[in-house]
């Protein structure tokens, strides 16, 4: 196995969950080239572990919600690659944690299973990386350059380059024949806290101005109007759990669907570039207080 972590477990000696955290760490050390960071020693003398913490991706293992290991990592300014909390892992597996400090067979099995899954994820990430490199997966910029329009205290951002828009406040970012689609700041500000996203079906064909799912907040339901024609190839699955990503970052992590385009040249006639959309946005914001 080529993957490995710098493992920072909590040191919960007064709870079973803390002891399980340690057990998970031990499995990782034994089954991979991961290295252990002792939290107690690290707190008082960090020189010994700084190199490991910098060279390997950091995995933080907290026993419970007090999250001592996470706090230590934060205190030391470490970049955390992955973190787990034993009480949450147990809950998601329907495993009831007892009070005993000595680990029984079930607790030991739980620890081993969690460690194995962590190592498998690492493996899967690695193999996915090589597959996508081979297939030439569409890569999107991590961030964009925005123009800002302010109204009272609300900020409306519109990315300046690379995006096209429709008058229904949807955006599209095109790479080759693939498009990523979402909604603009105007939509997320108008809706306020978004609570649900009903996605379209992957595989469906959608025409320009067709429906691409619904976004719902406590204030309203908003139908996403497709800016382009094509076949839906992906939906942002994170929105099922965290629909507020659309509020937080509508142009980046809050993207909604990806499509394979079938009629871009014709669609472009009814799409707006930055200047055209920015003018419309300002008018909409001035006319309707969000």
């Amino acid at each position: 196995m080529s993957k490995s972590f710098a493992v920072l477990p909590c040191n919960g000696l007064d709870k079973g969950a803390g002891c399980i955290a340690r057990e998970i760490a031990l499995h990782l050390i034994e089954k991979s080239e991961s290295e252990m960071i002792c939290p107690v020693l690290y707190r008082i003398a960090d020189a010994r572990y700084n190199k490991i913490a910098q060279e390997k991706p950091l995995l933080v293992i907290d026993g419970c919600q007090t999250r001592c290991a996470s706090k230590l990592a934060s205190e030391k300014g470490l970049k955390v690659t992955a973190k787990i909390t034993v009480t949450e892992e147990a809950k998601s597996r329907g495993f009831e944690l007892g009070d005993a400090l000595r680990l029984g067979e079930n607790e030991l099995k739980l620890a081993e299973r969690i460690a194995d899954e962590l190592l498998l994820e690492k493996k899967a990430e690695k193999s996915l990386g090589s597959e996508t490199a081979a297939e030439g997966e569409t890569v999107y910029p991590e961030t964009y350059d925005y123009e800002v329009y302010k109204k009272d205290k609300f900020i409306f951002r519109v990315p300046k380059e690379g995006f096209l828009f429709n008058e229904n406040d949807s955006w599209v970012y095109i790479v080759g024949n693939i498009a990523r689609i979402g909604v603009t700041d105007y939509v997320q500000q108008s809706l306020s806290d978004i609570m649900f996203f009903t996605p379209p079906v992957v595989g469906n064909e959608v025409e320009q101005f067709g429906e691409l799912g619904e976004i719902e907040s406590g204030k309203a339901v908003f139908e996403v109007v497709s800016p382009v024609t094509g076949r839906i190839t992906a939906v942002n699955e994170e929105l099922a759990v965290t629909p507020e990503l659309i509020n937080m970052n509508p142009y980046e992590k809050g993207w909604i669907v990806e499509m394979e385009l079938t009629d871009l040249e014709s669609d472009k006639e009814l799409l707006l570039e930055f200047e055209g959309y920015f003018t419309i946005l300002k008018r909409k914001v001035d006319e309707f207080h969000v």
Binding site: I155, S192, E287, H289
Partner: protein, 164 residues
């Protein structure tokens, strides 16, 4: 910017620890909902403290009134720390009495007519300070040459809940 688009921000504490905080919150909401709904923007204090760019940016640029439930003056101090001097600072305990303000926090389920009267008293004070701040801001605008009068939009709450 047109004079009609001037807004005044109100930063209120909502102290869960005492009655003064409840009255402060209710009075601020009344300013937004009824009394000066077109020109009020309320600043969400928790978001302000947590680094809300929109809240802090507004308070830097627009006149802001702080409304505190007690003499600890958390809303006033936070505004001055992160955005600048307030145009006016209201201490509810000055208006309803310290002993009354320091009574236990009140659920709105248990509001009495007496509490509503306290809210109205605080609202009167806020309105007076609000109108003063608005006048001063308008004079400044005229002095700077922004004397065009355009159509303003209605006021709103800082957290995006929109007009009522």
């Amino acid at each position: 910017m047109s004079i009609n688009m001037l807004k005044i921000g109100i930063v209120s504490c909502s102290g869960e620890d005492c009655l003064g905080g409840t009255i402060s919150r209710l009075a601020t909401r009344k300013m937004l909902d009824e009394v000066r709904s077109d020109a009020t923007v309320t600043i969400c204090l928790p978001l302000f403290l947590a680094g809300g760019v929109e809240e802090r940016g507004f308070a830097e640029q627009f006149p802001t009134i702080s409304v505190d439930g007690c003499s600890k003056a958390c809303a006033k101090r936070a505004t001055e720390k992160y955005s600048g001097q307030v145009s006016a600072a209201i201490d509810v305990s000055d208006l309803i009495g310290t002993e009354v303000a320091e009574a236990g926090a009140l659920s709105i389920r248990n509001l009495t007519d007496e509490h509503k009267a306290m809210v109205d008293k605080v609202v009167s004070e806020i309105t007076a300070k609000f109108d003063e701040a608005l006048k001063v801001a308008q004079r400044d605008q005229v002095a700077k040459g922004f004397a065009m009068v355009g159509s303003g939009s209605s006021g709103g709450c800082g957290c995006g809940c929109g007009p009522k």
